[in-house]
């Protein structure tokens, strides 16, 4: 059904310049890939045994903190973007 396509970029609104709000410590990462599984927006990938965060994450991240919560190595630090910026939810 054409109308039922899910194009996530079109289904998320954002505002402002968030600045950085995710930090990754590669030395702690064991390449398990759970961050990649859990991210709705596909912002984490794994290659050569280590995770990598998209350089465009500030434009796409839903601020769900799923990657931070699931990383047992605690390689991912997450905090919220600057006040008044980031995801805008109208039908939550």
């Amino acid at each position: 059904m054409e109308e039922m396509k899910i194009d996530l970029k079109k289904l998320v609104k954002r505002v402002g310049d968030t600045g950085d709000f995710i930090a990754f410590d590669e030395s702690r990462c064991d390449g398990c890939g759970k961050c990649a599984d859990v991210c709705s927006m596909g912002l984490w990938t794994v290659s050569e045994g280590k995770a990598r965060l998209s350089k465009r994450y500030t434009e796409l991240c839903l601020e769900c903190a799923g990657c931070w919560e699931i990383c047992v190595c605690e390689a991912i630090d997450f905090w919220y973007p600057k006040g008044g910026t980031g995801v805008v939810i109208e039908y939550g």
């Binding site: 059904m1 109308e3 039922m4 396509k5 899910i6 996530l8 289904l11 998320v12 609104k13 505002v15 759970k34 599984d37 859990v38 991210c39 709705s40 839903l62 601020e63 769900c64 903190a65 799923g66 931070w68 919560e69 699931i70 990383c71 047992v72 605690e74 997450f78 905090w79 919220y80 973007p81 600057k82 006040g83 008044g84 980031g86 995801v87 805008v88 939810i89 109208e90 039908y91 939550g92």
Partner: protein, 476 residues
């Protein structure tokens, strides 16, 4: 440095109720919201249930004014098999017991957070609390292990008699105060897709109902609003996570019966959200020196089905009441704030979590266990045949022959669930009121010739001697 009696972090329902209660008690109160307005960072199912009529009737009375409001009078379960075929659709409004319990009985409400949160925050500002939006609170100020204020993302310092942290599942305040970091276990991720619809078609096709989609996949809810609905589901963030959040939603959208409903109401995907939702056997530690945690920040959502807004409001209110008492006594130490835990544990919120472990384990091993659901569906369907309405439908033979065939099949399937029953249903036996058990046993008494001449008390004691399992109910 500005100084307040109460600083609340987060202007969602928990924060708004805390701020409202604190302001009503005459405390100088400020509440902070990182979004441009309350609600813009939040999403929920979002169905508000019957407890609201008991605890916040003045709020429930006003909800029909909100743009996205839809009354909820019924829940409809859609049960789907592994071929995506709809096998059962069953709904209920609940009985007259429910309808007579409070003025509006079983009516629930659905409203978007973008309507609800500003409304609740408005009640707090009307009561005299100050609201500061677009302000991230990023750290605590501590003196001798007691939280004495907060620091904003812009570096502003705000002094507080008490801090109330209503900043959600990923609570910066809890982390910075050293109470915890990641949950580690007990937290779910809940993806949700909102669909825009034609309001009058939604009225005709669905009416005032909440739907669920259960089957051999992660069970999903469908909360219906004035002109839209949410499809949402969730799963615990554990080592066994092996799916993509969007795929969990797409799984429901693959169901032909879902597609038919969506066509009938002109549904179009409108917005996607994903959130952490603590779904805990028991809540986390909810207080430290100078600070209390409210709502999702403390892991309060319901251990059976993840509802959290009522829990946030109740704990918000209790935290502010505790804050007022602590400030009046001049003691906001961790020991003094133990009172907060005592109060929420004594409330309906605490009662909910008394069987938290059993409720979580049941859900985790049924609705959220796709493999198990493949078999459970057949048992549930056979059970659903054992009533007059279903026997009317099955006239493969004389109706009472059909009834016995279904009963035999149910008895064939049931032993296969003995293990499931003893692990996940039997633990609830201790939750049944002894008075209810005694009444059921006494109803049997006239049918037992050997025992019916005994007095009621003697009869019950005889059963208690014969069955160890019955003793706890009879000895009380």
């Amino acid at each position: 440095m500005e100084q307040y009696d109460v600083v609340v972090v987060g202007a969602g329902p928990g924060g708004a109720m805390a701020a409202k209660t604190a302001a009503e008690k005459g405390l100088k109160t400020v509440f902070f919201e990182r979004g441009r307005k309350p609600g813009e960072k939040n999403s929920s199912g979002c169905g508000l249930g019957q407890r609201w009529w008991r605890d916040f009737p003045e709020i429930m009375e006003r909800l029909p004014e909100l743009p996205s409001y839809r009354k909820v009078e019924m829940v409809v379960i859609n049960l789907v098999d592994e071929n995506n075929r709809l096998r059962m659709r069953s709904g209920t409004t609940g009985s007259n017991l429910c309808a007579n319990r409070w003025p509006h009985g079983m009516d629930g409400a659905s409203v978007y957070r973008s309507c609800l949160d500003p409304f609740l925050a408005g009640l707090a500002t009307d009561a005299g609390a100050e609201l500061r939006t677009s302000t991230l609170v990023s750290d605590v100020i501590k003196e001798n292990s007691r939280v004495t204020g907060v620091i904003t993302g812009e570096g502003e310092t705000i002094g507080a008699g008490v801090v109330i942290a209503a900043d959600g599942a990923m609570s910066t305040m809890a982390r910075k105060a050293g109470m915890r970091n990641r949950w580690g276990s007990g937290c779910t991720l809940t993806p949700q897709l909102d669909f825009g619809c034609d309001e009058s078609k939604l009225d005709d096709v669905i009416g005032n109902a909440e739907w669920c989609w259960f089957g051999p996949f992660y069970g999903a809810y469908q909360v219906n609003f004035r002109d839209g609905f949410h499809i949402g589901t969730g799963r615990w963030l554990r080592k066994d996570w092996d799916t993509r959040p969007v795929d969990m939603i797409k799984r429901v959208m693959d169901i032909p019966a879902f597609q038919a409903m969506a066509r009938a109401v002109d549904a179009r995907p409108r917005e996607y959200q994903a959130h952490l939702l603590p779904w805990m056997e028991k809540p986390a530690k909810s207080y430290t020196g100078g600070m209390m945690l409210v709502g999702d920040a403390a892991g309060f959502p319901c251990p059976l089905e993840g509802e959290g807004i009522w829990h946030a409001c109740v704990s918000g209110k209790i935290s502010a009441e505790t804050a007022a008492d602590a400030l009046a006594k001049g003691d906001t130490s961790e020991r003094a704030l133990t009172e907060y835990e005592r109060r929420w544990k004594a409330s309906s919120l605490g009662l909910e979590h008394k069987f938290g472990r059993e409720l979580v384990e049941l859900w985790d091993n049924s609705i959220f266990d796709p493999e198990l659901m493949k078999d459970q569906i057949q048992l549930l369907l056979e059970y659903s045949m054992l009533n007059p309405f279903s026997i009317v439908f099955d006239w493969g033979d004389a109706h009472l022959e059909c009834f016995n065939q279904h009963l035999s099949h149910f008895l064939d399937l049931a032993p296969g669930f003995a293990d499931f029953g003893s692990r996940y249903i039997k633990p609830f036996a201790k939750a049944v009121w002894p008075e209810n058990v005694r009444r059921m046993l006494l109803m049997l008494k006239p049918r037992l010739p050997a025992l019916r001449k005994l007095s009621d008390e003697r009869y019950l004691w005889t059963l208690a001697r014969a069955s160890k399992a019955l003793r706890p109910y009879i000895e009380q």
